[in-house]
């Protein structure tokens, strides 16, 4: 017994069962209901776009780590997989493959690896890719396929405007007239509208939120603060002039608000760490989203709002500190 060589390390000697990998795959599981529903709505195109996005994100991460940074590739940690899925969820289902690959390169290359890889990127990589594509390929990125069910072909889909697009181009018409041609609330809830691949089905995204909360991947603060702020701000506008402004429910169910609030703004690396900072961050995203949607020239503003608030995260983390034990009482 005395010859046994013992490992000596400092405490603690036990660890919680959570790892970075498990958290990332938790996000993937939470994204699955939305993925399944988008295949049901947009057909095979959704699978093609998602697969290409995921494969190219993982491949680019591998190539950059292996040949450019000469690091040990860490593609199995699941974070490139999450970025790939989220990028695909943020583009139309009929986007040409070449554009998706460019988006993946920008997301991983510029959004993530140029800052040093996982843990050091200030902006959400998938959104960096998405916004780059939106600015570079405005026509392709805003030609939204109309949901026609599972049998829709890849590039021959019928396209149409998104509900927010209708609102943007209403001109002098009253909101109520415009909304007559928009989908009903139940259609919005089940994702029967034009839009990005993974942003439309509110119910699937909410199932995703429940999974994230159940698996303790995220806390409720960021999604709730974004949705609440958006609701309150659009509610004030709507109460002030219902003929000019759409109601809060319409704003919450359309565009990428739920996808952004649940999956994009909650990215660990680019979001704040303390509940108080999360509230400020979430409120900022909500307010900016509404300003861009209602007063800006883009119909949709969630991506921009999140990226802008990402930039404030280091300041929030620096100045909003946890309350220390025994801090207020001075030692006398």
């Amino acid at each position: 017994m005395n010859n046994k060589v013992l490992t000596v390390s400092s405490s603690p000697h036990v660890y919680e069962n959570t790892t970075v990998k498990k958290l990332m795959y938790g996000v993937v599981i939470a994204l699955l209901p939305t993925l399944v529903w988008s295949v049901v709505t947009f057909g095979i195109a959704a699978i093609i776009v998602t697969l290409v996005s995921v494969v190219s994100c993982i491949l680019f991460e591998y190539l950059i780590q292996k040949f450019l940074l000469k690091q040990k590739p860490s593609i199995t940690d699941g974070s490139a997989l999450v970025t790939g899925l989220l990028l695909a969820f943020n583009v139309p289902a009929n986007l040409p493959l070449g554009i998706i690959i460019i988006g993946a390169l920008v997301a991983i290359g510029i959004g993530k690896m140029s800052f040093g890889g996982l843990g050091t990127n200030p902006f959400n990589p998938a959104l960096v890719g998405r916004v780059f594509l939106l600015i570079s390929f405005p026509a392709q990125m805003t030609s939204w396929p109309v949901p026609k069910g599972f049998n829709t072909g890849y590039l021959d889909a019928e396209t149409g405007a998104t509900p927010l697009g209708l609102l943007q181009e209403k001109g002098d018409q009253a909101v109520s007239q415009v909304l007559e041609s928009a989908p009903s609330y139940s259609d919005l809830f089940y994702g029967q509208m034009g839009g990005s691949l993974g942003e439309m089905a509110a119910f699937a995204l909410i199932i995703g939120l429940i999974i994230l909360l159940y698996l303790r991947v995220i806390s409720w603060h960021i999604p709730v603060s974004i949705i609440l702020t958006t609701g309150v701000f659009t509610g004030i506008l709507w109460l002030a002039d219902p003929t000019q402004y759409a109601d809060p429910l319409f704003h919450i169910l359309t565009g990428g608000l739920l996808l952004g609030a649940i999956f994009m703004a909650t990215d660990y690396v680019s979001s704040p760490m303390l509940p108080k900072a999360m509230w400020i961050y979430g409120a900022g995203i909500g307010v900016l989203t509404v300003i861009i949607r209602v007063f800006g020239s883009y119909p949709e503003g969630v991506s921009f709002a999140i990226l802008i608030m990402n930039a404030f995260v280091p300041i929030l983390n620096r100045y909003i500190k946890p309350k220390r034990f025994g801090e207020e009482v001075q030692h006398g």
Partner: protein, 444 residues
Amino acid sequence: MLKTFPRGGVHPAENKFTADKAIEKPGLPKQVIIPIAQHIGAPATPVVKKKDQVKAGDLLAEGQGFVSANIHSSVSGTVAKIDQVIDSTGFRRPCVIINVEGDEWADGIDTSPDLITDFSLSSEEIQKKVLASGIVGLGGGTFPSHVKLSVPEGKQLDTLVINGVECEPYLTCDHRVMLERAEEMLVGVKLLMKGQGVDKALIGIENNKADAIAHLEHLTKDDPSIEIYGLKVKYPQGGEKQLIKALLDREVPSGGLPLDVGVVVHNVSTALAVYEAIQKNKPLVDRVVTVTGNSLSNPTNLLVRIGTPVKDLIEAAGGLPEDTGKVVNGGPMMGKALKTLDAPVVKGTSGILVIPEKQARREAEAHCIRCARCVDACPMGLEPYLLKPLAEMERYEELEENAVLDCMECGSCSFTCPARLPLLDYIRLGKSHVNQIIRNRKQK
């Protein structure tokens, strides 16, 4: 609503599978190794020499200065030598090594099991007796108990808190003491109340020990001065500051002591030691140790003489499993890994935990993803994710500003980190540097 502390904390798997095992007395070891430094403060100075005959309870080494403690022989026999031996700290330190012969106790020590309840001693006499008996905090902190008993001028005490939390996973020694030695322990609590000069004691116990709570509530139902509180299970509730916050909602100031909020905290096993010292004239020479681990064939609670080699305890618990990778002195959250199984049981040894090879080594580190789990877990309201790189980059001023010295090294941050970052390792390193800088500053 059960009480607990509000901020931070984690829930490690409890694994308290020795909770139902009654305290056993193993046979005496052939040799004991008794370190002269088993406490916080100055080491004691040996008063015996080679070939001296000693009895159990005889003084071996005398405490030096105020913050120090006497060391007594735990066995009868001959002093073989005084030598440098690797003890539970992992360093070679002076120890008195005694070859055991028979089991004779020093004169005046009552080894009978009779319960004695004699409260005639004054509080000064209680303090003197505790000092003479070498009693230190048995929860693992090993702070000399007589120091806590002598309250400095100008500090007002109103409450004695007795720590029966035992929040470390696996350990059950305090639990067994509260079940099997409750009457004696409660006499110890009364003596401590008298020694501290307070007329109220609160005993805090986590509610995974419902039998102990019920037992103590039954025994104290006619005594309004002692209150028993069940607490919601959460690590590190056994930390003094967390326990005081949970029981009394008082917050010990940063850098301060429980005294600053009128409280002093003693462990249940310490209370038992105080009982034995005062009513039985028996110095601190043995303690209950939980010998445990998922791979042990017979995990158990043992009443062990101080200085018994750890290997003897593991033999008593069924022998060392083939796949053992690590043996810890204490619990899995704050215990120290032993270098050798020849190291002796000391006053602060609450448990011996055997960990299989598979779990003994750390997993590979990943990147910090700013998930904030360490910030949520820190019971002191610190930001471990920030302290680690500051310590790594030797930015000690910023470390001090970020209150690194408030850290009590409970390990909740490292425990919870999904990237398996050695947060506490770097924070410990940073703390020692900041402490050094503060000492230098004071000297100038």
